[in-house]
């Protein structure tokens, strides 16, 4: 059996994602222009002064995307944190203990899965109202079932394996067995799933904000900007293209990381 080796996918993915995240982090502290400042330079195409051009209010699109993608990144990251966190807990309990808890939680899970995810998010938003944090909660809940099901399988597969039987015989607590003995052996399915989930969360946030049920001003996010860009697609096509381009590049970079991790596991197996 081989040692785990980095491959091209993983390296390329980390570089692309790293650059974008660095760019977004810089946007938290510094943008070339204030993102909401209007000016007389309206509807200008890309130029050295305005790399992504300006919109119909004369705002610098580069600065807006820099800040807006930060909001999207935050929403996506917290969404998968909630989704995978709750999913791991539910999956661990149902997969390891089985029995009645398993039956009840998994049927509840099936019920959640039965709704189309965007519809479920819509229902939750209509209860909570729009806004950045409510989007995070809504998407987080929508993301729980898939992680729960996946982690349940990963934990259940180890339940009667000899090293877990040994751990029980040596008197290790259930919590210790779940967290220390079992969880590390689920990472090879969890980590690629996190990258896929992250991408889905970016796209889900974009569609929700695009539909007007996502973030509210003064917050800007990728989806919010896309819906703005739609209104000036004829006069400022570079707006939609630059927002879409950054989303595509971020999703592409993270996908490469996921693909790279999966290939790394296959090589080891």
């Amino acid at each position: 059996m081989m040692k785990k080796k980095w491959n091209g996918y993983l390296i390329a993915g980390c570089i692309i994602t790293g650059i974008i995240i660095l760019w977004i982090l810089i946007g938290r502290f510094y943008t070339p222009y204030p993102p909401t400042k209007m000016s007389s330079a309206k509807l200008q195409g890309p130029s050295p002064a305005h790399l992504f051009g300006t919109d119909k209010f004369g705002r610098d699109i580069f600065s807006r995307v820099m800040q807006g993608s930060g909001t999207t990144l935050l929403i996506a990251a917290l969404t998968i944190l909630i989704g995978s966190g709750a999913g791991i807990i539910i999956g661990a309990i149902t997969g390891y203990f089985g029995g009645m808890v398993d039956e009840v939680l998994m049927r509840f899970n099936d019920a959640l899965t039965a709704f189309p995810s965007i519809l479920l998010a819509l229902v939750i938003i209509s209860i909570l109202g729009p806004g950045k944090y409510n989007v995070i909660i809504a998407l987080g809940i929508v993301f729980i079932p898939s992680y729960a099901r996946m982690m349940r399988t990963a934990f259940a597969a180890q339940r009667d394996v000899n090293y877990i039987i040994s751990a029980r015989l040596m008197g290790a607590s259930s919590l210790r067995i779940l967290l220390i003995h079992m969880l590390p052996n689920t990472l090879h399915v969890l980590l690629p799933a996190l990258t896929i989930g992250f991408n889905n969360a970016v796209l889900a946030e974009a569609s929700m904000s695009f539909l007007g049920i996502g973030v509210t001003p003064p917050d800007v996010s990728m989806g919010y900007m896309l819906s703005e860009a739609q209104g000036m697609f004829r006069s400022a096509p570079w707006y939609a293209l630059s927002v879409g381009g950054v989303i595509a590049l971020l999703v592409f970079g993270v996908s490469l990381i996921g693909e790279g991790m999966q290939r790394m596991n296959e090589e080891v197996d």
Binding site: Y163, A167, L169, M170, A172, H181
Partner: protein
């Protein structure tokens, strides 16, 4: 925690006040395990009601003496592993009782590929039972790990290796070390050499024999290989369809088998 409870139970059952009880105690001190007319099996849990019950063991009755290697032979599917699970406390007997006179027993499994956690190094796997026990500081744990590694005749270099980097024989030695690290007095070995090459088999059997002397162990040695049992064991239990059909010293059973089933098994092993 569980160890201390078991110890307490042992003390409670082992020490009586009146002289008659003490005579019993002396005889019992020679025992590590008593299995008294045990019957039982598996219940498949159902959503409603008690579910299905499948009986596996019928009136199993034997004991294991201090320092003894007891063989348990029989075809596969006859209930050997079920009996092991019951002795380990993973499964409750429906009838009868199992009495331990030592600390909680540990088990050595057949498949050395699944008995060690693939996510961790050998050092971690050996240290973990001591960490869970919680009575030793880190230096003492490391000392015991190194000491046990020497006892199973492995070089110190394997400590930093993951199980995937070891051979089957090395893994089985690590599994033995992990089972013994808390110094149990009674070990259940469930087909511990059947997954290994013949030369490695001989080495592991010799190791088990040496460790018995060195660490004052008793074994229940489960196997379907009658030749291996003959080499290693003092006494032997022959199991058929969940019942012990014959038991005695290895020489008695191998030279003068009483049961037709034992004769068939012996003939098949020739």
């Amino acid at each position: 925690m569980a160890d201390s409870i078991l110890d307490t139970i042992t003390t409670m059952t082992g020490l009586g006040a009146d002289p008659a009880a003490e005579a019993v105690t002396e005889a019992q001190r020679q025992l590590v395990l008593e299995v008294n007319l045990v019957s039982g099996g598996y219940r498949t849990p159902g959503l409603f009601g008690k579910g299905k019950y499948q009986q596996v063991l019928y009136d199993v009755d034997f004991n294991i003496r201090h320092g003894e290697i007891m063989g348990l032979v029989g075809e596969s599917g006859t209930g050997k592993s079920t009996l092991a699970r019951m002795i380990l406390g993973m499964l409750e007997p429906e009838e009868g009782s199992i009495v331990h006179y030592t600390k909680r027993p540990q088990i050595i499994f057949q498949d050395p590929y699944s008995s060690l956690n693939p996510a961790y190094t050998v050092e971690w796997s050996l240290e973990e039972p001591l960490r869970v026990f919680g009575k030793y500081d880190e230096a003492e744990r490391k000392r015991r790990v190194r000491d046990m590694l020497a006892k199973v005749e492995l070089p110190q270099e394997v400590l930093s290796a993951k199980p995937s980097e070891l051979s089957g024989g090395q893994r089985q030695r690590v599994s033995i070390a992990a089972a013994l690290i808390r110094r149990p007095r009674f070990i259940i070995a469930d087909e511990p050499v059947s997954a290994l090459d013949v030369t490695i088999q001989a080495q592991i059997l010799q190791l088990l024999r040496d460790l018995r002397e060195e660490l004052d162990l008793s074994y229940l040695f489960i196997s379907h290989d009658l030749n291996v049992v003959y080499q290693l064991c003092d006494r032997v239990l022959v199991m058929k369809k969940g019942r012990i059909v014959e038991q005695g010293t290895v020489d008695e059973v191998y030279d003068h088998p009483k049961e037709e089933y034992t004769k068939q098994l012996l003939a098949a092993a020739q």
